[in-house]
């Protein structure tokens, strides 16, 4: 199985771990991530004004490329996942945006949201299946109590992203179970870490992440996993991270599949 792969700028730089472990795990699980050539940054943020178009074009190009390859489009970064899915929804359902974007891009054939955008976790859940994944695990993470930290961008708005129940998700918990570990469910797992305000208000993000650590460790988590480079950054800025490490979910996946070393 081949997928078009949109890594995004952060995965090429500060979040290389998220990327490389995903690639090695994909090989172990028998599917291929084909990085799309000349991808451009998604912008990190879905455009603020519903009448904006220029800021959506980079996503549209990536989506259209995948369509031309006849492949689903995979992302790992929560921000890219968020932006690509929302832009794709616009292209599918908002006539005005679709027309203007197509007029600008002049593809051979107009793009109207045909590509299916999948988060890497969705591939594990919906294509491979967590039961199958569990069978491929060679180093089960037994005895570990792992808290999934979802953050905001993967889940909301739930109707458009259609990733999981935005208030009580379970995809990462099922993932943790498949790796042989015990998921820790805590209510801060879908609350914001403070996001991009870390740039100007780092103290505020520290308050937020402290609450996340308090809640998750209160329920017994010994480490956290995330799919978002920004959450990772903010969580790691917290003092608590020295005792409760934070991993990209792909790192634990690679570890369980026994492909971490070679990655």
């Amino acid at each position: 199985m081949k997928y078009s792969y949109y890594p995004g700028c952060t995965l090429k730089n500060k979040a290389q771990d998220l990327d490389k472990y995903a690639r090695s795990s994909a090989v172990a699980l028998g599917f291929e991530l084909v990085e799309i050539p000349e991808w451009q940054c998604c912008g990190g943020v879905y455009p603020l004004g519903s009448d904006e178009i220029a800021t959506k074009l980079s996503s549209v190009r990536a989506l259209n490329y995948a369509k031309e390859q006849g492949q689903d489009l995979i992302t790992l970064c929560s921000a890219c996942h968020h932006v690509l899915k929302r832009v794709n929804d616009d292209m599918k359902n908002v006539e005005d945006i679709r027309t203007r974007a197509n007029n600008y891009c002049e593809f051979d054939e107009p793009y109207s949201g045909e590509t299916k955008v999948l988060h890497f976790l969705e591939v594990l859940r919906d294509v491979i299946g967590f039961d199958e994944l569990a069978k491929k695990v060679v180093n089960p993470l037994e005895g570990r109590k792992i808290g999934a930290y979802y953050g905001c961008l993967t889940l909301r708005p739930g109707k458009i992203l259609d990733f999981d129940d935005p208030e009580n998700p379970k995809i990462m918990e099922d993932f943790i179970r498949a790796l042989g570990a015990e998921p820790v469910i805590y209510s801060m797992r879908n609350e914001c870490c403070g996001g991009y305000t870390a740039l100007k208000d780092p103290d505020f993000t520290k308050q937020r992440t402290a609450q996340i650590f308090d809640d998750s460790t209160g329920f017994g988590a010994d480490c956290l996993i995330t799919a978002c480079p920004l959450c990772m950054y903010n969580l790691n800025k917290s003092d608590a991270s020295s005792k409760v490490p934070v991993y990209y979910f792909t790192e634990l996946l690679a570890e369980a599949l026994g492909v971490k070393e070679g990655a």
């Binding site: 995004g8 700028c9 952060t10 730089n13 500060k14 979040a15 940054c41 912008g43 990190g44 943020v45 603020l48 004004g49 519903s50 009448d51 800021t55 970064c77 921000a79 905001c152 889940l155 909301r156 708005p157 739930g158 935005p166 208030e167 609350e191 914001c192 403070g194 996001g195 991009y196 305000t197 870390a198 740039l199 100007k200 208000d201 505020f204 937020r208 978002c228 480079p229 920004l230 990772m232 950054y233 790691n236």
Partner: protein
């Protein structure tokens, strides 16, 4: 139906934000959900009433728009489909479009940079804080 000037202005905000402030019933679920509550001088549920009253200047002057985390919790939970987060985004746009008043200047950036700062953060901050 003919409209007052205020209604026309609000109509423009509706277009830009994709959110209808008149639908708000002041239940405050957005404000209850808001993780940045303590930082915001105008609370999420007040955005609709400020717009309906036409107090655009006060919105533009406020720091609330820059404190919103864009976490979409209010958008997800709003029972009236007002989705206050969209009105916050519209306010940011009003600032940028009406007066070019960006909240983040490029000159500030080097001082704010940390070694391990992910690109995603910089890109998002620029998008959120500037035109």
């Amino acid at each position: 139906m003919s409209m007052t000037q205020l209604e026309k202005n609000i109509e423009a905000i509706k277009e830009m934000s994709g959110s209808d402030p008149y639908k708000c019933m002041r239940c405050g679920k957005c404000t209850a959900s808001c993780p940045a509550y303590s930082e915001m001088d105008i609370k999420p549920h007040q955005f609709a009433s400020y717009i309906i009253r036409g107090d655009f200047e006060e919105l533009i002057e406020s720091k609330a728009a820059w404190k919103c985390l864009s976490c979409f919790a209010c958008i997800e939970r709003c029972p009236r489909d007002v989705q206050p987060g969209k009105l916050v985004d519209a306010t940011r746009q009003m600032v940028a479009r009406s007066r070019g008043g960006d909240y983040l200047q490029p000159e500030e950036v080097p001082a704010l940079l940390a070694e391990d700062l992910p690109q995603q953060l910089l890109v998002s901050a620029f998008r959120r804080y500037r035109r």
